[in-house]
Structure formats: structure tokens, C-alpha cells
């Protein structure tokens, strides 16, 4: 980004203004996440930086909110975390299987009404969550699955599959179909071909779609608010209740854990994306 030596002064100034604007926007994007970090170690109950924290006094910091999160009496986070993970894992498995199989069909050039079907399959991602929530709630109430894990898992499969469909069709768009034909001509049946040839090649796309589905389910709050009973509480529901009633530092401890989790997922997704692009021979 270095400027050539002959750049005129006013363009030089403009260039630095531009870089300053960019820096400000990046700061706006990322800084809010880092506020949570130090405050979750606050020794006091207030959500502001105490004088002790500003002086970096070790006594002003403590792990008490993390202790409260894990060992606190009548604390909902344990049950919520368990539910969240169970629901997200099953929703991810369901989304990945349904989404990948559908993406295989959608990537075939023989697929009829491709545009229309794609639009229907992607719609849960586009339709406002509140509408999805109302519609899915009506359905689950009718079939008696409201306030059950199964109902929430099904709802999250609906919301998660668009991501899998999108990432897997994108991966398949660079897929060389002659390798599957080669496998078939060598006597492999379609299932075997898929497991041994296609799946390993599109695996990065499948996993990154799965990560999206996992995060979607793990973070989802609007639909769950309609569907969940007391037994099905999840981390987002607890955070939502906590944020509405009283912002406590325990929530910040949970939020810190969630940020760490999302960082891990981001790193995995990025590594997969690069690997996938390398495999498909896309040079950037």
C-alpha cells in the first residue's frame, strides 16, 4: 500500500485520511468484543471499570464470576450449556446430511426447476426470524413437539440447512465430475463413489457448512424463545433473560467463553476454506 514517490501532496493527505477511516471502522468492528474480556474479571458487581482496574491493581480482578458460572447455586448455565450442545450437535448432523445430499442434486446439470427449488431451500435464511419463529411454533404445537428437544432440533435443522446447501454447492461448482465418471467406469457403485471420491474432495465445504449450522443453532434465540419450555433452556435463552432483567458480570463470563469458542470455530473455518481453495486449484 506504499505510495509511489511522485504522489502529489494532496493525494498523499487523502491517502492517510483513507487509512485513518479504515482503521476507525476496523476499531468499531472489533473493539466492542474486547470490552467484555476485562470486565468479566471484575472483582466488583458493577459493569464499569473500577478505579482499581484502571490502576491494574491485582485485587480489583477476580475469577468469582467464572466460579459463579460453574458452581453457583440455582445456576442455570450448566443445564443450558448441556442443552445447547445436544441441540446444536443433532441439528448440525441433520443439516449436514440433508443439505449435502440436496446440494449434490442441485449441482447436477440435469436438475429441473433449479432456481425455484434453490430459492425455497434458502428461504429460511432470508425470511425474518420472527416469522420463522411464529410459523415453526404453530407447526410444532400442532404436532405436539413444542417444548421438546426434538422440536427445537428440527427447527434448527430448518434454519441450518441453507448454510450447508450454499457452502456445499459452492464447493461442488469447482468439482471435476470426470473423476466420478472414472470411478463409475471402473465399476464403483454410486454410494461407494460418493464415499470414496466425492466426499473426501468436498469435505472442507461440508465441514464449513456444518460449522455454520452449528453456530446458527448454538446462537439461535428467536425461534427457541417460542419453542422452549423450562426444561429446554439454552445458553442464548439464559443470556436473553439475563440481559433483559439485569446485566450481571456472570453473563460476561459466559460471553467471554462464547467469544473463545467462536474464535476457535473461525480459525477452523478459515483453515478449511484455504484448504478447499487449494484443493480446487483456486489461486487468489
Amino acid at each position: 500500500m506504499a505510495l509511489p514517490k511522485y504522489t502529489e501532496p494532496h493525494y498523499r493527505i487523502w491517502h492517510y485520511v483513507y487509512l485513518t477511516i479504515c482503521a476507525a471502522v476496523f476499531f468499531f468492528l472489533i473493539a466492542p468484543l474486547f470490552v467484555i474480556f476485562p470486565l468479566s474479571f471484575n472483582a466488583e458487581e458493577f459493569l464499569v471499570f473500577s478505579d482499581g482496574m484502571k490502576r491494574l491493581d491485582p485485587d480489583a480482578f477476580s475469577l468469582r464470576w467464572y466460579q459463579d458460572m460453574i458452581y453457583g447455586t440455582k445456576n442455570p448455565w450448566g443445564l443450558a450449556a448441556k442443552n445447547s450442545f445436544i441441540i446444536a450437535i443433532f441439528a448440525t448432523i441433520g443439516s449436514v446430511i440433508l443439505g449435502t445430499v440436496a446440494a449434490l442434486g442441485l449441482s447436477s446439470r440435469h436438475m429441473p426447476y433449479k432456481g425455484l427449488i434453490m430459492a425455497v431451500l434458502i428461504s429460511p435464511m432470508i425470511v425474518p426470524l420472527i416469522i420463522s419463529g411464529v410459523a415453526i411454533f404453530f407447526f410444532m404445537a400442532k404436532v405436539g413437539l413444542a417444548a421438546t428437544h426434538t422440536g427445537i432440533v428440527l427447527a434448527h435443522i430448518i434454519l441450518g440447512t441453507p448454510f450447508v446447501v450454499i457452502t456445499v454447492t459452492a464447493t461442488l461448482s469447482g468439482f471435476d465430475h470426470s473423476v466420478t465418471r472414472a470411478a463409475a467406469s471402473l465399476g464403483s457403485d454410486p454410494v461407494n463413489t460418493f464415499m470414496k471420491i466425492t466426499l473426501p474432495l468436498i469435505l472442507p465445504g461440508v465441514i464449513s457448512g456444518g460449522l455454520f449450522a452449528f453456530v446458527t443453532s448454538f446462537d439461535e434465540v428467536v425461534v427457541v424463545l417460542f419453542l422452549a419450555g423450562l426444561e429446554n433452556t439454552t445458553i442464548p435463552i439464559q443470556m436473553w433473560t439475563g440481559l433483559r432483567e439485569q446485566l450481571s458480570p456472570t453473563i460476561l463470563a459466559v460471553a467471554t467463553c462464547l467469544i473463545i469458542l467462536s474464535t476457535l470455530i473461525l480459525v477452523t473455518a478459515e483453515l478449511l476454506r484455504r484448504r478447499s481453495e487449494r484443493l480446487r486449484g483456486i489461486n487468489r
Partner: protein, 417 residues
């Protein structure tokens, strides 16, 4: 030529064209069968329930079924003067049946939606009707309360006769159908929904504009920097994208509160005095700031993917042909990024217009959107048919933008990180 091609036969003796068509059809079915499980799943658990919302929003069978005799006898009544004795009689018998089934409370709630003032007079009628004598029900009912002698209330009942209604949609835009069947606005001081629709559009629009203004420079920077720097900066965009919405909203709640860091900073640089701190949360400002930051990645990613494909030599060519950098940017670079702008703006607008969680937490009363109103009717007033009607009105708007998006960008070109 064509006659020759037709004669080409496969080894089985079938014309090639027929055989090819057969194979194509087989492939079509194969492809469709792969998609079928997901398609069926989505249609049954998602598309049909949205259709169910449509049914609920126009459904008005409840009152129709509660007062069958009354509506039958009302068919002959022209609605000019008070209804004849037979209507009163039918109403009395319908009403007695409802009392037996303990459903008269539901009737009063329903009729009160149509016209205020039914609740109390139905309660009174229930008490008094126990001691009614046989015959001349018109006199007896009218003596319970003077409103029962008011033709307006009987017209209000008659309006509930059809099993379907579009009243909920009218209510959604602050209108109603009066006794004469004219569609008119509700009084100015009771118009709440139009304000909400306008505010939803306004917030979605400005959030889109802010996102665009902020995303354009950084997407450009990301697209022009060397890989090793841009990958690092890309994390700044992707980390918020992957972080829980509630976590990001929580961080804004901490930042924007009156004793929060943003206010501290303003006091420090002397922008506001310490006892006069700005209120940035529980109002529109809160919604704007938090929604812009949360939706920004959805603008950056499509812009970035388009800018990445623009060769830097184009700008150089523009400059070498005598354009200043600004002219070269405006005439060469900017037009090439328009597809990315379109994709990003439509995506952000679509997401912003249906936002619920963030406005509910930081928006307060003046920063809430139409989604919050839908949730309110689903959870608090339990007027599910009204919630459905509002939801479908919102949905129809979203579908128009979705269609536009599909046409301009192609739904399979959505960029996800």
C-alpha cells in the same frame, strides 16, 4: 443432416435420440430424488406453516361458530334500524348455550376487538339473563343496558358473521371498517402501527447506508492489500460475524450505558459534562449503533468478493489516460463495484428489516421495530391472528426484496466468509 442423425442407432437398436432422452430423464429423476428429502422437509415444516399463518390471519370462524342462530336470523335484517325480535331471540339462545359451555368470556373478548364496550355489557347480560322470562327477548335484553338498544352494537355483531376477514390487515396499517362498511383511519392518537412500519423502514434504510459507507473503504483496503496483511485484517471482519449476536449486543449495552466507556470518553474529551451524560441506550441511537456494527460484515463480504476480481491495472490505465485518481476511481472502479454494492445493500436491508433481538435489548420504546410488535402480540396479548397478519405483511415486503436479490445477484452467490 437431421434425417441422418435420426437414423443413428445405439447397439440395442433404439434411435440415439430416444435413448439419450431416456438417459436424460433418468438423470433428472436422480437429481430430483437427491433434493427431495430436504425439499419435502422444508415444505412440510416451514412452507406449509407459513401458509397456516395466512389462514390464521384471515380466520374469523370463532364468532361465526359461537352465534350460529343469531347470524342466520340476521341475514334478513338490513342493518338500518334495531333488529327484529327474532334476532334478539336467536341471540339469547346462542348466548345461553355459550354460558353453559363457559365460553361467553371469549365472545366478549372477540366482540370487543370489533367495537369497544362489549365487555361490560356482556358481563351484565350474563348476570341478568338468568332471571329472563320466556318471550319478548328484545325488551328484556334492551333493558339490561342502554348499549344493547344501540343499533351500532348490533351492526358490530353482524360484521363478525363471515368466517373470513381482512380486518387484521387493516388493523396492521391503523385502519378499520366502520359500521357502514367504509374503510377509514383510526383516530390520530391511536395510530401506532404506521409509525412502527415507517420506523422499521427508516432504521433499515439508514443502517444499510451506514453499513455501506463504512464497509466500502475497508473492503477496498482488504482487496488491495497484500494477502498476508489482508488475511489478518479479515479476521476483524469475520470474528464479529462468527460471534454470538447476544454477546455483541451485550457489549454494546456495556459501552453505551450512561456510566459506560463511550460516555466516559466523551466526558474526558470535554464533549459533554459529567452530570449531563448522553443517553445512547434504550432509544433509536442504540438500535442504529448496534445494528450497524452487527450487520457490517454482511456488507463487507460481498463488496470484498467483487473488488477482489477488479484488476488494479484498470485504475492505472484510467490514470495513465489522464484521469486524476478521483476521476479514475469514479469512472472506472466504482461502476465495477456496483454488483457488490447491490448484493451487500439488499442483504443488509433484508436482515435489518426483520431484526428483533438487538432492538428489543438496546432499542427501548423508541427504537423497536415491527418484529418486536409481532413478538408482543404472540407472547403478551395472544392475538395470534393479528401477529400472523403483521408477520405476513412483513414477509411480503421481504419476499419482494428477496426476489430482486435473486434476480440481480443470484441466490447461490451469497457469500459466507
Amino acid at each position: 443432416m437431421s434425417s441422418e442423425t435420426k437414423q443413428i442407432l445405439t447397439t440395442d437398436g433404439i434411435p440415439l435420440e430416444v435413448s439419450l432422452k431416456k438417459a436424460e430423464k433418468k438423470n433428472k429423476i436422480k437429481a430430483f430424488l437427491l433434493v427431495a428429502p430436504l425439499l419435502l422437509f422444508i415444505i412440510i415444516t416451514y412452507v406449509f406453516p407459513i401458509g397456516d399463518m395466512l389462514m390464521r390471519s384471515v380466520d374469523d370462524k370463532m364468532v361465526t361458530e359461537m352465534l350460529p342462530k343469531t347470524f342466520k336470523s340476521m341475514e334478513k335484517w338490513d342493518g338500518e334500524d334495531l333488529p327484529p325480535e327474532e334476532v334478539f331471540e336467536a341471540f339469547y339462545f346462542d348466548f345461553q348455550k355459550l354460558i353453559e359451555e363457559e365460553r361467553e368470556g371469549k365472545l366478549s373478548t372477540q366482540l370487543n376487538y370489533t367495537k369497544n364496550g362489549f365487555k361490560s355489557i356482556i358481563k351484565k347480560l350474563r348476570r341478568k339473563s338468568k332471571s329472563f322470562e320466556e318471550g319478548n327477548y328484545k325488551e328484556q335484553i334492551m333493558s339490561v343496558h342502554r348499549r344493547w338498544a344501540d343499533v351500532e352494537y348490533w351492526r358490530a355483531i353482524k360484521r363478525r358473521a363471515p368466517a373470513y376477514t381482512y380486518q387484521k390487515y387493516l388493523k396492521g396499517v391503523d385502519m378499520y371498517e366502520n359500521e357502514k362498511g367504509e374503510i377509514i383511519n383510526v383516530p390520530e392518537d391511536r395510530r401506532v402501527h404506521r409509525i412502527l412500519w415507517l420506523r422499521t423502514l427508516e432504521i433499515a434504510f439508514f443502517v444499510t447506508v451506514f453499513c455501506f459507507l463504512m464497509a466500502y473503504p475497508i473492503a477496498h483496503l482488504l482487496a488491495t492489500l497484500p494477502m498476508k496483511y489482508s488475511n489478518l485484517l479479515m479476521i476483524c471482519v469475520l470474528l464479529p460475524f462468527w460471534t454470538s449476536l447476544l454477546v455483541r449486543t451485550a457489549s454494546w449495552m456495556i459501552l453505551l450505558q450512561q456510566q459506560g466507556i463511550v460516555n466516559d470518553f466523551f466526558v474526558m474529551i470535554g464533549l459533554v459534562s459529567d452530570d449531563n451524560r448522553l443517553e445512547m441506550m434504550f432509544n433509536k441511537t442504540g438500535s442504529y449503533v448496534a445494528m450497524t456494527q452487527i450487520l457490517l460484515p454482511f456488507m463487507v463480504l460481498p463488496l470484498y468478493s467483487v473488488m477482489k476480481t477488479i484488476s488494479p491495472s484498470l485504475m492505472r490505465a484510467g490514470k495513465s489516460l489522464g484521469g486524476t485518481p478521483f476521476v479514475a476511481f469514479w469512472k472506472v472502479y466504482f461502476p465495477l463495484t456496483i454488483p457488490g454494492i447491490g448484493a451487500g445493500c439488499l442483504l443488509v436491508f433484508i436482515l435489518a428489516i426483520g431484526y428483533y433481538i438487538t432492538p428489543a435489548l438496546v432499542g427501548g420504546a423508541s427504537g423497536t421495530l415491527i418484529s418486536n410488535q409481532i413478538a408482543f402480540h404472540m407472547k403478551s396479548t395472544l392475538d395470534w391472528s393479528f401477529a400472523s397478519a403483521m408477520g405476513l405483511m412483513l414477509l411480503s415486503g421481504v419476499l419482494v426484496i428477496y426476489w430482486l436479490y435473486n434476480k440481480l445477484v443470484g441466490i447461490d452467490n451469497i457469500k459466507l466468509g
